[in-house]
């Protein structure tokens, strides 16, 4: 059976096609001004790679903050639900899944059946999400992908205001003028974010196997800071930014099997 999951995030759209619950292909596109059109492109991309047509797909489920604009979707799944499904599909023993995207951070608790049982969300504030790292990278005049490796060279962190992206930016500019080293400032950015995220996770309780997904999971600097704060080494899948799409596709598989109402 072939199913498709798509995650319409604020910055990017991710698509996964599953063949009998094994990943067959992936597609992605920037959300831009018209997420519906961008999603169609990402789906096309994934279909081409899998060598199939849209009519071959049994069920399509959408998730993500723009899920109401998803094309082809038969139903939707909450982002927390998708996180739980994907996290424990990838790491069967995992019971805590942290998902950090461009504009939102979530911690989800799930049971042995991969169902979400509890969650904490940071929304409406950029300081706890990927946007924070992006803004600080801009202020530091460092490429986003270089922030992580740079921060690993630091021995300590310079203090910055982590409660707000805008205030943090001003702090970074003042630190640059005080000639603080860039690695130390970068380290401070990740430590500050890891602080916010770990306090979210602690509200749910830390289980030994913690999974980190979402685009920010690809950042080695953030991962190092988070591991230090949580006191455990988080597990990261190969395509952390596709986990929402994966969760949606897995949900599509189980919904396709349900008797039609």
């Amino acid at each position: 059976m072939i199913t498709l999951g798509m995650d319409l995030g604020t910055q990017k759209i991710k698509v996964i096609i599953l063949k009998d619950n094994v990943v067959a292909s992936r597609g992605e596109a920037f959300s831009g001004f018209d997420p519906t059109k961008a999603a169609e492109q990402a789906v096309d991309d994934a279909l081409k790679q899998a060598g199939i047509k849209i009519s071959d797909i049994a069920y399509v489920v959408a998730t993500g903050s723009n899920m109401d604009m998803a094309p082809y979707a038969k139903s939707t799944v909450s982002m927390m639900g998708a996180d739980a499904k994907a996290g424990c599909y990838l790491f069967p023993k995992a019971r805590t899944i942290i998902d950090i995207g461009a504009e939102e951070a979530r911690a989800v608790k799930c049971d042995e059946r991969c169902s979400m049982t509890d969650f904490v969300v940071n929304e409406r504030c950029a300081a706890g999400a990927g946007a924070f790292i992006e803004s600080m990278a801009r202020a530091l005049e460092v490429k986003l992908e270089d922030m992580g490796p740079l921060s690993l060279k630091a021995e300590r962190a310079s203090p910055i205001n982590a409660s707000c992206v805008i205030f943090g930016e001003s702090d970074v500019v003042s630190l640059i003028h005080r000639q603080e080293s860039k690695p130390e400032i970068a380290r401070a950015v990740f430590d500050a974010m890891a602080d916010r995220v770990s306090s979210m996770v602690h509200r749910l309780g830390v289980n030994p196997e913690v999974v980190l997904v979402g685009g920010v999971a690809r950042d080695v600097g953030f991962v190092a800071s988070l591991n230090r704060k949580l006191g455990v080494n988080v597990l990261i899948p190969d395509y952390p930014d596709f986990s929402g799409a994966l969760g949606a596709a897995l949900t599509a598989s189980s919904r396709a099997k349900e008797p039609q109402k």
Binding site: A29, F30, S135, S163, I166, S170, H177
Partner: protein
């Protein structure tokens, strides 16, 4: 995967006008007590020159990435064409976000005290509540009839609802920042305020609403309304007492001012006609600083 192309703006819509003013009909003599206040804000740097405690000239520029340089530039701008030199200034007070970085200052004083003093100077002794809305700050200040601070509250954890968000909107909607307030009032019915005023999210928030088919006017109205509600909450927490005035860059945003009046049910004291030789509420902090400079100089002379 292709990065969405960003349209290169020939015009930078967020850029507000830098200007300098010498009060007409005013002059200085060498025996006068001439002081200056330099207010280095996060977005704008303002310098004011006072002759015997009366506003004489001022200059407003955008703050660059280097605070000491911005302070120097603003003061030079205020002095331009006055015949005054920095050495003629008896006392200089630095204030604002970058106040410790004003190299020529004899002393640094917080912008809370300076805005209170400046508001008292601009509007007179009846002012009891001052709302200062700058690029990154919102401050609600209670003052007495002499312009002294009684109590204050500020947004120390979050920049939501500050001028920076307005700059983002100006650029995104391609509307000059000076026109934003007026345009936000061109709606038949006030839309509900946006749920999120985080400056970092302002762009996605606005894009979402535009996608829903909202007009630029409606988007601005919803965002401005949400900002006004945040500011009104701050004023209510510090305790509103009449008369109310607004200082800082956002005092020029008619969309903000009129909505605060609606939310609080109180009229602000009328805005001086700053375009036509009146005092500019954006310079309140620098004027207050220059007044402190005069007092500090006189005190030093006595002892």
């Amino acid at each position: 995967m292709k990065e969405p192309s960003t349209v290169e703006n020939a015009v930078e819509f967020w850029r507000w006008q830098e200007y300098q003013r010498i009060m007409p009909g005013k002059s200085w003599k060498s025996k006068d007590l001439i002081t200056a206040g330099v207010d280095v804000g996060s977005v704008g740097s303002k310098a004011a020159i006072m002759v015997n405690g009366e506003a004489y000239s001022w200059g407003i520029i955008r703050t660059g990435s280097n605070s000491p340089e911005s302070a120097t530039k603003a003061l030079d701008y205020a002095l331009k064409g006055t015949g005054l030199k920095i050495s003629d200034l008896k006392y200089i007070v630095g204030t604002g976000y970058g106040r410790v970085n004003v190299p020529m200052a004899n002393k640094a004083i917080t912008e809370i005290a300076c805005h209170a003093k400046g508001a008292n100077y601009i509007w007179g002794p009846s002012v009891r509540t001052v709302l200062d809305v700058g690029g990154q700050d919102i401050k609600a200040i209670r003052i007495d009839e002499t312009g002294r601070v009684v109590s204050f509250l500020m947004n120390d954890k979050c920049a939501a609802g500050t001028g920076r968000g307005m700059e983002v909107f100006a650029d995104l909607l391609k509307i000059p920042i000076e026109d934003i307030g007026g345009i936000s009032l061109k709606v038949d019915q006030e839309p509900p305020p946006v749920s999120c005023t985080c400056v970092a999210f302002a762009k996605t928030e606005a894009m979402g609403l535009l996608r829903k088919g909202w007009s630029k006017e409606k988007v601005l109205a919803a965002y401005t309304r949400a900002m006004a509600v945040r500011m009104a909450n701050l004023i209510n927490r510090v305790g509103l007492e009449k008369e109310l005035v607004i200082t800082g860059g956002q005092s020029k945003n008619i969309g903000i001012v009129s909505r605060i009046e609606v939310v609080l049910g109180v009229k602000c004291l009328p805005m001086p006609n700053w375009r036509d030789n009146g005092l500019d509420p954006m310079v309140a902090g620098a004027l207050g600083a220059a007044l402190f400079g005069k007092a500090l100089y006189e005190k030093a002379q006595k002892s």
